[in-house]
Amino acid sequence: MELLITALIIAAVLFGIGLYGALSQTNLVMIMMGIELMLGAAMINLVAFWRFLHPDAFSLQMFVLVAMTVMALEGAVGFAIATQRFRTSGTVEMEESAELKG
């Protein structure tokens, strides 16, 4: 039991740090880093649930693979957007991208 709780608390703190980073940074790539930390925390949770609650349910491990796919995709699409922002406006600061603001 204490193993599961420890893993969950570690994941919770990592998620909090990731949320803080994603909200507070003004830079697109740094925001992506925050999101990656949050996904990493989610993966710790999934593995902990697999190991300590349902070791016979391999759809949980499958879910971790899907989360890794999401991480890689988030990286690829995020970098593409960063590249395009840099081409059009010369910076990836999110403070300066307010074109869609009504």
Binding site: V13, S24, M33, H54, F58, L65, M71, V92
Partner: protein, 172 residues
Amino acid sequence: MISVQLILLIIFGLAAIWFGWRVFMTSSMVRSALSLLASMVAIGILFLVMEAEFLGVLQIMMMGTEMSIMAIFMMMYMMDPGGLGQMDMYHQKNISIAAGVIVTVFIVGAALAADWGTIATQFPGPHEQNRLLGMEILKRSMMIFETAGVTILTGMIASITVALSIKNSVEK
């Protein structure tokens, strides 16, 4: 009861948290990306401690590549001062700290309050895990796995399309 597994879990968990914290506390972009890499490797070692061997090794492998790519993109777009310049890269700092702390406290509270039922003691060994995960992927979850593959293809096409440079010239 304090077991070796618990001690390792705490040590590498603290390492993951520390490096995750360093990501947002340094003004050098490469250091920031490599701190994130260290944090992700610590998460991978946590998987190994929790006896999910395949996932741990896979995590360590994938994150090495991904975070190195992140480092080069940060260098390209952010004019790294090498930790010498003081850059102001924050906004809404108080709200963010409040959000982070509140969410953390909420999740920890939920984790402590929930009734987790019985803790499993029997689990398959590494070799058996590999086989069972393969069976899961190729039998019950095959559709999900193929969807993930198609999603990667879509992501590749989408990111290339987005990153193409826009040419405003009209001549053919």
